[in-house]
């Protein structure tokens, strides 16, 4: 539903709409699950810390938006109406006051999201547009959601993320220095008994780990990008003692090389670490193997496992 001319010029309303190449349930999730919402909410350059998101009528949505210049903008909304997965209505109660309604329309597997913000008066609306660029901000926000959805839907990407209560440069150092890595990298009970290398573009980190279930495992990282304190990129593979690339011991079709991107984002003094894995230099078979493993995690048949687990327990 595009904005009509009268709505954009002289009314108290701001409207923006965008169609996303994603099913409605997924788009709904992006709007109602704080873990996702924090990733794209707000205009370009903004990040968010969501303190509370209670998605039900009367529930509060409290977040701090961090501007590109470091300014924090505390915001509070109250949800008025929650009709999953079609519509949510919410009031911005921390000023400037407005009532917003977001609708989700699905058609041919795509979803059109329409956001309508209504202010008390046309004057207030115009002020918010002039001072904060709220109309452009809303367009940018939907653009960020689009980019985030595209990233989410990449079938060959494995993503995992965690928030750490430590400043970004400290966390970055723990990843970038082999001597530090040795102290924590690997699953519970693992011991890195060989750790050599240097984090520089083209540099190689070669390590060996003793893991209870698997015995000795050798691996190697070839660094591609080191951007302190924001980003580390390396090519990950199994290796032998001499540092040569080897196949996964259990599956010959598992990708030999996974591009690993670790990003470090500041969230109000804490640090979000996100690890991404994508197969590179992979043939169809390797890529398919990776996707199949990934899809099996979220396949519609996961209920089967729950049932199986129940069965095994009883």
């Amino acid at each position: 539903m595009p904005a009509t001319a009268s709505e954009t010029s002289s009314s108290a309303v701001i409207v923006a709409a965008r169609t996303f190449d994603a099913p409605r349930d997924l788009v709904w999730k992006m709007w109602t699950d704080p873990e996702h919402t924090a990733k794209w909410w707000g205009p370009n350059g903004f990040t968010n810390t969501i303190e509370k998101m209670d998605v039900r009528p009367g529930g509060e949505f409290v977040l701090v938006m961090h501007g590109p210049d470091g300014t924090d903008y505390p915001n509070k909304f109250i949800f008025r109406e929650v009709v999953k997965p079609e519509r949510i209505a919410y009031s911005h109660v921390s000023g400037p006051l407005f009532e917003a309604t977001t609708t989700f329309d699905e058609h041919d597997g795509k979803t059109t999201v329409t956001v309508r913000m209504e202010f008390a008066t046309a004057e207030l609306r115009n002020k918010v547009v002039e001072q904060f660029g709220a109309d452009r901000g809303l367009e940018e926000e939907l653009g960020k959601l689009d980019a985030y959805l595209k990233k989410m839907q990449r079938p060959d990407e494995f993503v995992i993320s965690r928030l750490f209560d430590a400043p970004r440069d400290v966390v970055f150092r723990a990843w970038a220095e082999p001597a530090e890595l040795q102290k924590w990298f690997g699953p519970k009970g693992a011991e890195i008994f060989y750790s050599k290398g240097e984090a520089k573009p083209g540099g190689v980190y070669h390590y060996a780990m003793r893991v209870r279930a698997m015995g000795e495992v050798w691996g190697r990282w070839v660094y591609r990008e080191i951007v302190p304190p924001e980003r580390l990129v390396w090519v990950n593979s199994f290796s032998d003692k001499d540092g040569g690339v080897t196949r996964h011991p259990m599956s010959p079709t598992w990708p030999a090389e996974l591009l690993t991107t670790v990003t470090f984002d500041d969230e109000g003094g804490k640090t979000r670490v996100t690890v991404r894995w994508v197969p590179i230099n992979a043939g169809d078979e390797e890529r398919d193997t990776f996707i199949a493993a990934k899809e099996s995690m979220k396949g519609g048949w996961t209920g089967t496992f729950d049932r199986l687990d129940e069965f095994l327990v009883t």
């Binding site: 990298f185 690997g186 493993a293």
Partner: protein, 121 residues
């Protein structure tokens, strides 16, 4: 077949979106070939080919009745595959746990050092 072989066969079988959709349908209960073919714009022989691949991989079994050969999902084989990536997820989760602990210790030490150097001034 060794574990290595059958994992690769299972991965190959799962690599196709139609076959994954068939498994999703079967997770709700057994079904005939005709029922499975209904949501797809595909001929029965094409669907049968997919079923054959799934059966060879041990992901489904089929009834004996010559007329009505219902397909059934085999959870054990699927679980192996699901465990596969879950293993990596655990690898990272546990690494994150250890990193969390390590960072905490590190900051405790830093604070202590800062306090001591203040006292020395």
């Amino acid at each position: 077949m060794t574990t290595t072989d059958h994992l690769s066969v299972t991965f190959a079988a799962l690599a196709d979106p139609t076959r994954r959709a068939i498994l999703a349908r079967l997770s709700k209960g057994e079904a005939s070939v005709t029922e499975l073919a209904a949501p797809f714009d595909m001929s029965l022989p094409a669907i049968s080919k997919h079923l054959k691949v799934l059966e060879t991989a041990g992901l489904i079994t089929r009834g004996r009745d010559a007329q009505w050969r219902p397909c059934r999902i085999e959870a054990a084989r699927l679980k192996e595959v699901s465990d596969w990536l879950d293993h990596y997820r655990r690898f990272w989760e546990e690494s994150f746990d250890r990193l969390d602990e390590y960072l905490r210790e590190l900051q405790k030490k830093e604070k202590k050092n800062a306090r001591n150097s203040k006292r020395n001034k």
